[in-house]
């Protein structure tokens, strides 16, 4: 698929993610205010941590009186899944300087990963502008603006649960996973990852469960033999391979987000 067409899909999918970021940002701002954080402290979390689940958890820990070392440790654990995102993006970032990678890593979130990896696979190469759009325009800016809005609006906001905000995130992640499930192995990886994550969450902890599902699911999928008849969905470019957009077949259903 050409870059322009894929960027249109990215933009459209990004609208859904902006809704997610805004919904959760508003609720986070409201929650932080009710927990007694100042607007500066609330914003510092959104700017420096920039990880919704960890920020919600930290507010809860503070209310419970947990010490800072424990909060920092739990934050690291809760966000350990980013190791998987970063590792999965690595093959696409070959050829990009390390300082630039280090800067781009700052905006790596669930949403930025989901949008950008799908975009890279559609076009068969890295698109820094697309990654920037997913990480900054779609996630960082809406998250921070909505954090302020949530804090300032405070009690004027209706019950978020009645607005269905809590289903946006899982629905978005499921929809984006569906877009990546372009072959047998991907479907098995997703199914196994989800099942293992739920079981591990119940047995251990949700953050650990996500990590275990994300690690073990692909390992199970790797046990499946590769089909010879149909090429797999685009793999990251090999080192040294030209990074021009290609016409490579992106698989059976790569166009999640295409307007009807």
């Amino acid at each position: 698929m050409d870059v322009a067409a894929s960027r249109r899909i990215l933009a459209l999918d990004g609208m859904g993610i902006i809704v997610t970021a805004v919904g959760f940002g508003v609720v986070y701002g409201l929650t932080a205010r009710e927990a007694g954080l100042s607007v500066v402290e609330t914003m510092a979390m959104s700017v420096f941590v920039f990880a919704g689940a960890a920020q919600f958890a930290a507010v809860g820990y503070l209310v419970q009186g947990l010490g800072w070392p424990a909060i920092v440790l739990l934050t690291a654990f809760l966000n350990a899944r980013h190791l998987l995102y970063s590792a999965a993006l690595l093959p696409w970032f070959r050829g990009v300087s390390r300082p630039r990678r280090a800067a781009l890593a700052y905006v790596l979130t669930d949403e930025a990963f989901a949008l950008s990896i799908a975009h890279f696979r559609r076009i068969g190469r890295l698109d820094p502008a697309g990654y920037g759009y997913a990480g900054v325009v779609v996630t960082f800016i809406p998250w921070n603006l909505s954090t302020i809005a949530g804090f300032l609006l405070g009690g004027a906001i209706a019950d978020p649960a009645q607005l269905g905000i809590d289903v946006i995130f899982p629905a978005a992640m499921a929809g984006l996973a569906l877009g990546l499930a372009t072959g047998r192995r991907e479907v098995v990886a997703a199914t196994a990852g989800a099942g293992i994550a739920v079981v591990a969450s119940l047995a251990w902890d949700p953050a650990g469960g996500i990590l275990v599902g994300g690690v073990v699911g692909p390992a199970i999928a790797m046990l499946l033999p590769v089909r010879e008849a149909r090429p797999p969905s685009p793999a990251p470019p090999e080192a040294g391979r030209p990074t021009e957009a290609t016409d490579q077949d992106p698989g059976p259903d790569p166009e999640i987000g295409v307007a009807p």
Binding site: T75, P91, A105, A172, V198
Partner: protein
């Protein structure tokens, strides 16, 4: 206005950033063998599905007790998946999920 927790936010950010950056910037990982590349290609769908499943099926209460949850969220995610598959449009899928949830909760069904 209190600013005491800004330092905590910085520390939390410092604890988060390495997991975002280390695999991308660590030396010696430029040339990965094909099986590793294939594995990494599968991490995306697996971890996103894991996130979706745990967000839908797992609830952590105020006492940090983890329980299995069955509710309208299941139907909402399913509807989103059907719409995304059918219309190939994530935004429409999310809108359908939210609409179903609002309707169910408004009618007292969830």
């Amino acid at each position: 206005m209190s600013a005491d927790l800004i330092l905590l936010a910085l520390l939390m950010g410092a604890a988060t950033y390495p997991s975002r950056a280390i695999p991308l910037v660590a030396p010696g990982v430029e040339r990965l063998p094909p099986p590793v590349l294939e594995y990494l290609r599968l991490v995306g769908p697996a971890v996103l599905a894991a996130l979706a499943a745990t967000s839908t099926m797992i609830v952590v209460d105020a006492d940090r007790q983890v329980t299995f949850h069955v509710g309208i969220e299941w139907a909402a995610v399913l509807v989103a998946l059907v719409v995304v598959r059918w219309r190939r449009n994530l935004f429409l899928g999310l809108a359908a999920a939210v609409a179903l949830t609002i309707a169910a909760r408004g009618l007292g069904l969830a």
